[in-house]
Structure formats: structure tokens, C-alpha cells
């Protein structure tokens, strides 16, 4: 019998701790499918963040490092500089990457650090229980914006791909989503391209994935997907923001 669907080899055969309907799991799977297809598990070092995906070091079967909150791009830089022949990726949430770790993100990007950054934007601090993230939408209720995010008080959300696309060191900055089959396919292609960029020493590649947090949004998994489509995509348009040859 032909096998049409199975767990990627580089994804550990254990139960993930994510909430029902959370799309972190889909994104893990896409990264692992790419690692498997490229046959690079034995040559890959992943760096996980502090956030809901903190335990990702148990889920990816490649060698893994757990970084301090926001510092994954610096840790990945250390790994890549020490081991230039290895594939190095970070997997980070929006609070991790675009608040506490903004400095490390921007500088790894502008150095053209030859790494892959998987950026999971769910417009919320999932792990700590639903506080405002740098990506929380205007009007969005969180535990620290109980009346909805008011830009006059809390400022505006950060559009990471748009911001990073201005930097010379960025080879790829692409925003994708995991709300539908076509978008998931698109997301995988982007992740594959990011890893191929690293193989070809092209520079910094970031794939921003719009993701759901049913738990802290207070929505059912189905309604969470709908919110992603109706509210997030209009504010964070999908697409390629940078795809260029970095001229070092």
C-alpha cells in the first residue's frame, strides 16, 4: 500500500503540548517536511525561543538550543559563525522576535546572517496568558489591553517583513499564513526557499507565518482561523517583501 501521509522523520514522535486548534503544530510540520526533503536533519541546529514554542527542542529531531527570550538570532549567529557548514534556523514568536528581541532580529538581518528565521505571528503573548504583543492589532483585546489596543496609548503594531525588507542583508522576507490548504502549501514553499537560500549562502531569510491562538483569543479553532483571515491578513498582507541577491 502506498503511504500518502506520514509524520516527517525530523518531527519527534511524541505528543506536542500545543492547545487544540493552535497552528504552531502545522508550522513545525512544514519546517520538518522541508528538513526531510532536503535531507539535512543531521546537519541542522535549531534555536527555539521563549514562548509557547519553548519546548520545540523536544519536537525537532535535529540538534537544538534553547535561547533566552528574544536572543535566538544572536544565538543562531554564534552557531552559524562557529559552524558555517551547518543549517541554522530560529523559531520565534512575535513577542520574542519583535519586542524584546527586536535589536537582535534587525542586526542579524542587516548583517545578512546566513540563517533562517521562522517567525510565528499570532498577535498575542501566548505563553504568558494573552498579553499585548508588538503585533496586537488596534482595537484587539488582550489581558493588558482590556479595552482594546489603543494606538494613542500603546502605539501601533509592527509589520516585521515590511520593516526588514529595507535592509541590504535580507535575501528573503515573506509573509505567509496557515489558515487554508493553498496558504499552507505557499508557506511550505517559502520555508523551503529560505533553507535553500541558506544552502546557497544567500543571506538572511525570514518567513513570517500568520498563526492562531484560539486559547488567548477566546475563540474556537474554526473562529480563530476566520479571525486570521478577516482581521490579520488585511493588516498583515501576505506576500514577498524582499527576494533579492544580497551583494556582500
Amino acid at each position: 500500500m502506498a503511504v500518502v501521509f506520514e509524520r516527517p522523520k525530523s518531527l519527534a514522535d511524541i505528543r506536542l503540548h500545543y492547545c487544540p486548534g493552535c497552528t504552531h503544530g502545522i508550522i513545525h510540520r512544514l519546517v520538518c517536511e522541508v528538513i526531510d526533503e532536503m535531507g539535512i536533519e543531521g546537519d541542522t541546529v535549531g534555536v527555539c525561543p521563549v514562548g509557547c514554542s519553548v519546548f520545540a527542542y523536544n519536537y525537532f529531531n535535529c540538534d537544538m538550543i534553547e535561547a533566552p527570550h528574544g536572543r535566538a538570532p544572536a544565538v543562531a549567529t554564534g552557531v552559524k559563525r562557529a559552524q558555517p557548514d551547518k543549517f541554522v534556523f530560529t523559531y520565534q514568536g512575535d513577542g520574542d522576535l519583535a519586542a524584546i528581541g527586536t535589536c537582535e532580529t534587525v542586526h542579524a538581518a542587516t548583517r545578512g546572517e546566513n540563517i533562517v528565521v521562522i517567525f510565528v505571528n499570532n498577535t498575542i503573548y501566548g505563553m504568558t496568558g494573552g498579553q499585548m504583543a508588538p503585533t496586537t492589532l488596534p482595537g484587539q483585546v488582550s489581558t493588558t489591553t482590556p479595552f482594546g489596543r489603543d494606538p494613542k496609548l500603546a502605539g501601533f503594531p509592527v509589520r516585521v517583513c515590511e520593516m526588514l525588507s529595507t535592509l541590504d542583508g535580507v535575501a528573503l522576507a515573506q509573509r505567509v499564513a496557515v489558515d487554508s490548504v493553498p496558504h499552507i502549501r505557499e508557506a511550505k514553499k517559502a520555508i523551503r526557499k529560505a533553507f535553500e537560500n541558506q544552502r546557497d549562502k544567500k543571506g538572511f531569510s525570514i518567513v513570517e507565518v500568520l498563526s492562531t491562538c484560539p486559547t488567548n483569543w477566546g475563540l474556537s479553532p474554526v473562529d480563530a482561523i476566520k479571525r486570521l483571515q478577516d482581521e490579520m491578513i488585511p493588516y498583515y498582507p501576505l506576500g514577498v517583501y524582499a527576494d533579492k541577491e544580497v551583494k556582500f
Partner: protein, 351 residues
């Protein structure tokens, strides 16, 4: 072997490269900048990595990344920058990673000043980050010792899988002395725990400091403290100078110990039986050595370039059975031998 006249900071950098430091990550700050600049000149050419980080926070996390893959990695800074590194140092300690951190101390608190200081003793020996952990702390007092201790610090960091700090100061960093470098040394130790790609030949390695179960974390910390006990039993080191018949013994480390040695010589010239104990390891603290060497002393004078941070450890070393007095200058002021001599006389009630 060839003697070279070198500045402390540059000698330190050269020594690190020679003992196999493969990656250096730093951020400019006075008075350690020559160290980074020397690394920038030499490191890439010698097959290693020099990278100027965007901050001290990034630099220590780059060290975390590089050290995770099994290479010898180092960062250097001065006091305010070390404060920024403390989260990363705690993670490195909690992940059982070896690395070397240099603190060329300057005056504090805050932006403080850029003159030599020893006001980071507490930070280095008791509070280099959150949580239950220690780092090895070595205190050189000459440029030659800077060179020797860097190599030793890397060896001990690797052996015990923990961070090691060289607590230098602006004086040692900036002064020039003749040095002899040891033979070039390559990485000695196997690191089967390193996260450098499993090549499909082993299970994946995980570098991590998170233990969500309280008892798991407790067990890990307790295991680490067994290692610390072994270190406390074997590594403490101090130089004793004229302590055999001394009635008044100074305790001082680093650059201050040089001043105090001169003060001891001045005292001896006047017939005052003075001596000096110079801790070379600040953690583990050489308590036994101090206790034994001060057995017959009448009083002890702890001299520091701070308001008195090591003095409590000296009191504990002698179990508070001796009179331990303190003299210090701070803010970047260096005590003079004459000042220290005056303090010895005061201690002995000598006119």
C-alpha cells in the same frame, strides 16, 4: 622563549587565540576596547571568528550559540556591559556550557567612570545573574598572569562545563609588561554534548536550561552543586608574600595587590612585620589558605579598589576570630603604597 612587551588587554587577546579560542564576540567599551580591536586584527586571519555584536546582550548570546557547538568562545567587556550580560551568563551556567568572560572593571555604579576599579567583586563572585549558580573567577595581577590565566580559565571552563571569568581592571588592561606566551594549544577536550549536527549518528543533543518540573530543576541544580563542591576542594589558589612571620597581613587581589606588595616592602624596611595574601581565585575563594597563613597574625587589613566587597569573605575565612580591618579607594582612585603603609601602622598602633 621570546619575551614581548605588551599591553594587558592585547596580551589577553593574543593568549586567548593561542589557547584555541575560536570565536570572539564583543561590544566596544572603555577600558577593554583594545582587546576587541586586537581580536579584530588577528582573529579572522588565524582562522577564528571576530564579530562586533550590536550589544553586550547579543555578544553573550553569540557566545552561548558558539559554545553550544563545542568551540572555545569568549567575550569581553567592562562593568556596565557585564551587567547586561548577566542574563546570558545565567543561561550559559544553567545549560552547562563552557566559555570565558573578561571583565576589565571600571568605576561604578551606573555609567560610573572609566578608571580602574574592583567594585564588581560581588557581582562576579555572588551575583552574575539570576538563579543558583557560580562561575569560576580568576584575578590576575600582572600581564604575564593575565596570559597564563586565560589559558587556565579555558581549560577549567571546559573541564567543568561552566563559565569562567577573568576579573581584570583598567590598570592591568592598560599597562605594558614583558610577557612570554605558552606554546600554541589546540582544543584538548571531547565535547559529545555539543549541538553541532548529529550527522544521523546519534540522538539529538539539546542545550537547555529549562526544567518545568520543580523537582527536575532541583535535581539538576543539586548535581551542579556537587561539581562546585569538587571545585571548592581543589581549585582555590592564592599567593602568599612574607606571611611566615608576619604580624600584619594584607589581603588584596589584582592590581591592588601590586600596590600592597610595595606597601609590605616599605613596612619591612621600617622593621614592621607585614605580609600579603593575594587571592588568585575569587570563586572558589581561597579561605583555607587565608586561614592558615594568618594563624599567627595580629590583624588583617583587606585593601580593595571598592568600598569593601571582599572583606566579608576574608572575615568568614578567618571565622571572625581575627581583627579584619578594611581600607579602600573607589570610583577609579588607586590607593598608593604610602596610604596602605599608613593603614598598616594604624592597625598596629605604630607611630
Amino acid at each position: 622563549m621570546e619575551k614581548k612587551l605588551m599591553k594587558g588587554n592585547e596580551a589577553l587577546a593574543e593568549a586567548a587565540i593561542r589557547c584555541g579560542c575560536k570565536c570572539f564576540f564583543g561590544y566596544p567599551i572603555t577600558p577593554q576596547t583594545e582587546l576587541s580591536e586586537y581580536m579584530a586584527k588577528r582573529m579572522n586571519a588565524s582562522g577564528g571568528v571576530f564579530l562586533q555584536a550590536e550589544s553586550e546582550i547579543a555578544a553573550i548570546n553569540m557566545v552561548l550559540g558558539a559554545a553550544s557547538t563545542g568551540v572555545r568562545a569568549m567575550t569581553s567587556s567592562s562593568s556596565p556591559g557585564i551587567s547586561l550580560k548577566s542574563e546570558g551568563i545565567s543561561y550559559i551556567a544553567g545549560s552547562d556550557l563552557p566559555c570565558v568572560i573578561i571583565n576589565v572593571q571600571r568605576g561604578g555604579p551606573g555609567l560610573g567612570g572609566i578608571q580602574p576599579s574592583q567594585a564588581d567583586y560581588w557581582q562576579a563572585t555572588k551575583g552574575l545573574g539570576h538563579g543558583d549558580f557560580h562561575v569560576l573567577v580568576f584575578a590576575p595581577s600582572s600581564v604575564q598572569e593575565v596570559v597564563d590565566m586565560v589559558s587556565y580559565a579555558f581549560d577549567m571552563a571546559d573541564k567543568y562545563r561552566m563559565p569562567a571569568m577573568l576579573l581584570s581592571d583598567g590598570l592591568l588592561g592598560q599597562m605594558m609588561e614583558p610577557v612570554v606566551f605558552p606554546e600554541q594549544k589546540s582544543e584538548a577536550i571531547e565535547k559529545p554534548w555539543a549541538a553541532n549536527g548529529h550527522k544521523n549518528e546519534r540522538k539529538h543533543n539539546i542545550i537547555n536550561s529549562l526544567y518545568i518540573e520543580a523537582t527536575d530543576l532541583e535535581n539538576t541544580v543539586v548535581e551542579r552543586y556537587k561539581k562546585y563542591d569538587e571545585i571548592k576542594a581543589t581549585l582555590p589558589d592564592a599567593e602568599t608574600y612574607m606571611t611566615d612571620d608576619a604580624e600584619y597581613i594584607i589581603t588584596a587581589y589584582g592590581a591592588t595587590a601590586r600596590v600592597c606588595k610595595s606597601a609590605v616592602n616599605l613596612a619591612r624596611a621600617e622593621g614592621i612585620k607585614a605580609g600579603l595574601i593575594r587571592p588568585k581565585t575569587l570563586w572558589p575563594f581561597p579561605s583555607e589558605i587565608i586561614k592558615n597563613a594568618t594563624e599567627n597574625a595580629k590583624a588583617i587589613l583587606c585593601v580593595e579598589m571598592s568600598t569593601g566587597q571582599m572583606v566579608d569573605d576574608v572575615k568568614l575565612a578567618v571565622e571572625c576570630k581575627k581583627n579584619v580591618e578594611f581600607f579602600g579607594r573607589t570610583g577609579g582612585v588607586i590607593p598608593t603604597p604610602a596610604e596602605v603603609l599608613a593603614q598598616i601602622k594604624k592597625l598596629g598602633g605604630i607611630e
